[in-house]
């Protein structure tokens, strides 16, 4: 079973605030997924009575199942999300390939991610697509303790350059199809960026790096970027943006969980007695939560900024995870 998780537009939803520069930098994704789930599963069960206690609706009520795919929550692209014309916007998307995901399916993953973004924004293309490969940190040897602490759990070694170049070919296709106007990479230091520039047809025009509070860019990287017209942009994401454990927690049966995934134990009876109360929505068909191991595959973040006003009109995430019994 494949799960498509989405945040909807998080600008104006109040969950995108970095509390401090020390906070974990995937907290925006996690908290906005959580609050979007919450907004969908919380019902008061009695319409007008303000005193009614909120209860958790069964996930089948607010998700949408299409064959072997579950949208959490149900996706709806009916309304145009952006108010202005295409050329008014600077649309950036960033695709995080996650550790442990199937590298062989990169083309499918990439197309699906971009497709969801374009559908949601009702736009024919994005301006910039940045890809982030698992296990790569540009600041490896640097003395900046803040950065290290924001990487998220290390669940993988960096994949081979060969594999990254193979993936890049997918992006080049998207570029040639006109779906993406510029391509970018993330977290590449001087050596990796140089290899990338030498071994690709369509060169990355952006390298996005995480500076945190340390405003020191290695001079060799700066020089390379200048000489090869690569723009060095700042980001504040961690590469392992959606770890397995966090995903399980978000979707699991616990308090604050969405109730999509069952307890990892095999004792179904116990689970029912524990959480029976939470799914007492009378109207809802009492579906069973999904069983199995969850494996996040990728996350795509997208932002649409009105160019001449600097206003972020839309920002959100889609994430895909596999549940394997």
């Amino acid at each position: 079973m494949k799960l498509i998780l989405s945040t909807s537009n998080i600008m104006g939803a109040g969950s995108s605030i970095r509390r401090s520069t020390k906070s974990k930098s995937n907290s925006e994704l996690i908290s906005s997924l959580r609050s979007n789930f919450e907004a969908h599963y919380t019902t008061t069960n009695g319409l007008s009575n303000g005193d009614a206690k909120p209860v958790k609706a069964n996930y089948e009520v607010w998700t949408n199942r299409k064959e072997n795919c579950l949208e959490v929550p149900a996706l709806e692209f009916a309304d145009s999300a952006l108010q202005e014309e295409r050329e008014q916007y600077d649309i950036t998307s960033k695709l995080f390939y996650l550790p442990g995901a199937k590298i062989a399916e990169r083309e499918k993953q990439t197309r699906e991610a971009l497709d969801l973004v374009l559908q949601d924004l009702h736009m024919p293309s994005v301006d910039l697509l940045i890809v982030s490969f698992p296990g790569i940190y540009f600041d490896e040897e640097e003395d900046c303790p803040d950065k290290i602490s924001t990487r998220g759990p290390v669940e993988s070694e960096p994949e081979t350059m060969q594999s990254q170049i193979e993936t890049w070919k997918v992006l080049e296709k998207l570029y040639e199809e006109g779906l993406v106007k510029k391509l970018g990479v993330a977290e590449l230091g001087h050596d990796r960026l140089l290899s990338f520039l030498d071994r690709t047809q369509i060169k990355p025009s952006v390298d996005q790096i995480n500076l945190r509070d340390c405003c020191s860019v290695p001079k060799d990287l700066m020089a390379l970027a200048k000489s090869r017209s690569v723009e060095l942009l700042v980001h504040n994401d961690c590469s392992n943006i959606l770890p397995r454990g966090t995903t399980r927690e978000l979707l699991g049966p616990g308090e604050g969980g969405a109730g999509v995934l069952a307890e990892p134990t095999k004792t179904g009876d116990k689970r029912k007695s524990l959480h029976g109360e939470e799914s007492t929505n009378g109207d809802a068909p009492g579906g069973d939560a999904l069983r199995g191991e969850v494996q996040p595959q990728w996350v795509v973040k997208y932002t649409a900024v009105v160019k001449n006003r600097g206003v972020v009109e839309n920002k959100g995430y889609f994430a895909v995870a596999e549940v394997v019994e």
Binding site: N9, R18, N281, E313
Partner: protein, 668 residues
């Protein structure tokens, strides 16, 4: 300050007679603008800053500093600088240089004080992040150009107030006080810009008021200050003008520094920022949302600890300007029963604002001032003309005032393609926020002006605060932030911001939770699934998630407001700005430059970096010639202004004033 109209100004009793006439025509002009521009859409973010300078003149040998009254000469020199004109700069008031070439050179403008200059960028800024980095270098360019058109011993200093203004000595050339227009016992009429508008403004304010303006600033009670303090510089024996009776009637208050002329307020320098909004709605929203930030910005930029040669017990200029242009009559002030005047007016023309104007569902009736004074006939006329209640109330409130400077020639025909009568009232309401309709006959959109900040000593700081305010507006619009609180609390906060070291020791009313919120829906089963678009969820209770207004806000320190409050939902303005920056593509160099600006503001808020007010006060109190008696002597003042010059040039790189500048500029 805009272009200066000219003509034959009416003296006070005459101007008063035509006040209703001017207001009526002003309102018709406003309606014409409103009808033409209310549908104006999709304007870009353009913004501009205004820097005001004092021109000081040093005598290094005698260790003396005085104000130079050479504004006119300097502007003349700037206006006839061929190179400056070729680059699009100059002095629009005197002549226009429109040969744009590459980077547009800055423009210079006269100000009220004859010792002041104002400079603005030659072209407005956009929101390209590289534009933000150009602001500081443009400010430095402005100062450099200004300096080039002065004598070698003169300097354009950005201190809010000249420490010795009103000592009857420190101006060059020297003139005796007690002229017919200002009738001040401390400053001569020649202190004001000689353009007919300015002396008329000062004289008519005095005449309308029925006495001189009255500024009493609490004096700083130092170890050896004679207490109770009676301002030793007040002359009780003058008999040149009827207004000389003011001091004999108790105008000078005990334990206060007493001043008696418009120049003591309008002669101080501010940092003002004006934004163009996308459309009228966005403009109205920015006006409302920035209003509660005003007092915080004032406290953060505090830079005014000295008046007329004495240390004051306050840190900012605001109330002094307020009193310097306070034209209210005793009836309007509530000192006498209403007989000739129409209403009691609680605030000066220069004051914190009293209206919210956004048609925003989050604006609760309880936030509005229940005692707002407005002219009901004007409001009715505006609403007949199609304006909505909130905006009509706003302008009907501004239009309770009389026009001060009226030119006889302008009263012959009403020209609806002009805005002179409207601007006459609009631009002499100096509130801390100003909502500006598009000027007629231009492509400019609806604008909002942010007016509370004090000028900072360095261009680095002025750029930092300008850029910070720009970024906050972007965060407000992007994150849909809500800073509403009852507007009377902002008025109170404005007073609080005057306290010595308010930035460290005082608390300000502020909204607890500025974040928008997703609302839970009534019943998952009965709603159509909503997905990746903004969820159209029904509120649990129809549109009334509102508790008591008093529960929405609390007292916070400036540090909490700027840097965030531990254990609460309030994230802090800097984290909000950083969240915004995380959502847009910013290159590393820009982001690192912006980080320097944000670090300055963080530091000022948490006390690790001192405000200029604290630094100057400390400098004076540590000076070997200071007698711990509140008196700032000419010699100390010289060193203060010299220090400001050094800080302007070095920005703390030489280790001087590091308490104020910190390490902000060490690495660059």
């Amino acid at each position: 300050m805009g272009l200066l109209a000219t003509g034959t100004p009416l003296e006070w009793p005459e101007a008063k007679k035509v006040a209703g006439h001017v207001r009526q025509w002003g309102i018709e002009q406003l309606l014409a603008i409103w009808n033409k521009a209310k549908g104006k859409e999709r304007d870009a973010l353009l913004w501009g800053d205004e820097i005001e300078y004092l021109v000081v003149s040093f005598d290094e040998e005698k260790r003396r500093v005085v104000l130079s009254l050479r504004q006119a000469d300097i502007l003349e020199a700037l206006a006839s600088d061929a190179e400056l004109l070729r680059q699009g700069g100059g002095v629009p008031d005197i002549q226009t240089g429109d040969k744009k070439h590459g980077k547009v050179a800055p423009t210079f403008h006269p100000e009220f004080g004859r010792f002041m200059l104002e400079a603005t960028p030659g072209a407005p800024w956009g929101i390209g992040f590289k534009d933000l980095l150009d602001v500081e270098s443009d400010m430095k360019w402005r100062r450099e150009i200004a300096k080039q058109h002065m004598y070698a011993w003169e300097y354009p200093i950005t201190m809010t107030n000249f420490p010795m203004l009103g000592d009857r000595k420190s101006i060059l050339p020297w003139f005796p006080p007690s002229g017919s227009r200002l009738r001040s016992q401390f400053v001569p009429d020649e202190i004001a810009n000689p353009h007919i508008r300015f002396p008329t403004l000062a004289a008519n304010i005095r005449a309308r008021r029925g006495r001189k303006v009255e500024l009493n600033v609490p004096v700083f009670h130092d170890e050896k200050t004679v207490w109770p303090f009676k301002d030793p510089t007040v002359d009780y024996d003058l008999h040149d003008w009827p207004e000389d009776d003011d001091v004999r009637n108790g105008a000078a208050k005990e334990n206060h520094i007493y001043m008696d002329a418009m120049a003591f307020g309008m002669g101080t320098c501010c940092l003002q920022i004006t934004f163009q909004a996308k459309n009228i709605e966005e403009g109205r929203k920015m006006y409302d949302q920035l209003s509660p930030l005003g007092p915080i910005l004032l406290a953060l930029t505090a830079a005014t600890p000295i008046y007329k040669g004495f240390l004051a017990n306050t840190d900012v200029r605001w109330n002094q300007i307020s009193r310097a242009v306070d034209d209210r009559t005793p009836e309007e002030l509530g000192e006498k029963p209403l007989k000739n005047d129409r209403w009691r007016i609680p605030k000066s023309r220069y004051a914190s604002n009293s209206t919210y104007i956004s048609q925003d569902p989050r604006l609760r009736r309880e936030y509005l001032d229940p005692d707002l004074v407005y002219d009901p006939e004007i409001k009715t006329r505006l609403m007949e003309g199609g304006m909505d209640d909130l905006l009509a109330s706003h302008f009907a409130h501004l239009f309770i005032r009389d026009p001060i400077v009226v030119f006889n020639e302008d009263l012959k025909n009403l020209d609806l393609d002009k805005n002179d009568h409207f601007e006459n009232l609009q631009s002499t309401n100096w509130q801390h926020m100003r909502f500006k309709p598009p000027p007629t006959g231009s492509d400019i959109g609806w604008r909002v002006e942010v007016r509370p900040m004090e000028i900072q000593i360095t261009d680095f700081e002025n750029a930092a605060f300008s850029v910070f305010v720009v970024l906050i507006t972007r965060a407000i619009l992007s994150l849909d932030l809500n800073f509403y609180l009852p507007i009377q609390r902002t008025t109170e906060n404005m007073e609080t911001a005057h306290h010595r070291d308010a930035v460290l020791n005082d608390k300000f009313y502020f909204r607890k939770d500025p974040m928008p919120r997703r609302q839970a829906r009534t019943n998952g089963a009965s709603n159509p699934p909503s997905g990746a678009n903004t969820p159209r969820l029904q509120p649990t209770r129809p549109d009334s998630p509102f508790g008591p207004v008093e529960d929405e806000y609390e007292l916070m320190t400036v540090d909490e407001i700027i840097n965030g409050k531990a254990d609460s939902v309030f994230p802090g303005l800097i984290p909000l700005v950083e969240s915004y920056l995380d959502s847009v593509n910013v290159d590393v160099e820009t982001r690192c430059e912006l980080a320097q600006y944000l670090n300055l503001i963080k530091g000022r808020a948490n006390g690790s970096l001192w405000t200029a007010a604290k630094w100057i006060r400390h400098f004076v109190r540590s000076h070997e010639k200071y007698g711990m008696d509140s008196v700032v002597s000419e010699e100390v003042a010289y060193d203060v202004v010299k220090a400001a010059e050094r800080i302007t040039e070095q920005e703390g790189r030489d280790g001087f004033a590091k308490e104020m500048m910190g390490e902000c500029r060490q690495q660059s």
